[in-house]
Symmetry: C2
Subunit: 189 residues, 2 copies
Amino acid sequence: MKRILQNINILFDLTNEELAVLEQSLKIVTLKKNDLFLEAGTICEQIAFLESGCMRLFFDTPKKEACSDFYFENAVVGSFASFLNKSPSIVNIAAIESCELLVLSHNSVMELTTNYSKLSLLADSIIREQFLKAEKRESSFLVQSPEERFKNLLEEHPKIFKRVPLHFIAGYLNITPETLSRYRAKFLV
Amino acid sequence: MKRILQNINILFDLTNEELAVLEQSLKIVTLKKNDLFLEAGTICEQIAFLESGCMRLFFDTPKKEACSDFYFENAVVGSFASFLNKSPSIVNIAAIESCELLVLSHNSVMELTTNYSKLSLLADSIIREQFLKAEKRESSFLVQSPEERFKNLLEEHPKIFKRVPLHFIAGYLNITPETLSRYRAKFLV
DNA sequence: TTGATTTCTTGATTTGAATCAATTCTTTCC
DNA sequence: GGAAAGAATTGATTCAAATCAAGAAATCAA
């Protein structure tokens, strides 16, 4: 059984039936580096659990690609704004490394959450998590300086620097790669 | 009947029973200018519909209050992150003007959404809306310059400038009041 | 392996916004 | 109504990060 299913099972104590239907609904998808999971302008029709690899969410901009979020093993991947509203996405999501995803279609999600109460709890819990993340992210822009954001990321998620190209991290922090490079030199990373 | 209930009724075509239970659950609260609806560190135990007046959401920071969102008539007010997770809020919400609020407790929301399908749809729709808003807001920081954010706000929500003190707007745009003042002079507002 | 991209670093310069400071304009409320 | 507090403007200066510009290092592909 996939690691992600194990984790979900541990947290939500699924019945055999729930586990079975969830497993049947999940489609395994592999992406190569740089492959798009979601393209801005299209509707996010699916949500995925990231079994292995890492990905990034980014906005299109004239000059650069404004990287905005990273996903690692066990993350839930997708644009909830687009998925839930069935509206065109304003974000892209792409693989940074080769990735293995367990994908749920919109229909599957609806079916699973309406018919299985524990899966509905799982969905709720994922949604709740998103709200926390969004609030923290917004606060980071409003209350921290770029340098503070850098130090904070370094402290809380040092592994990101091992796996993600620095120019993506620069985008996430909303600074240029040059500035990130100087921060790194300054703090002896 | 309160305007907000009318609007909800129009959108969701409630039954008489639904309308009645919703109305019974709503508690009318009035706030004076600067009164707090939610204080950072406490759990957001209630969500409100703003019947009249306007409010702001802001983060605590050492120097300034980093204003982050505004609410006007018909808005849904609260920290979803704190409300849904029952976790301490990292945001404050306060009245900018005298406000009349229709308040729902956490229990009421749970009861209403589990027992009345149309009210559950209403809740879902509010949640969906939040995701769209959060994604747009994040994109504004990553893809727009401060000056572009200003011009955009001026174009899309000119009335904000009529009702909200400028230093709050400056916080929302993540610039100083001085800079906002100069933008205004530059664009002849 | 080597040549070619791409990524990262380092330096010099520019620039936009913050800061500091002073004044005017508005509210608020005794 | 007038004093006091708060909000907004305007100017001078500083500063942090962007930009511009090479190079170095690493990755990729032929």
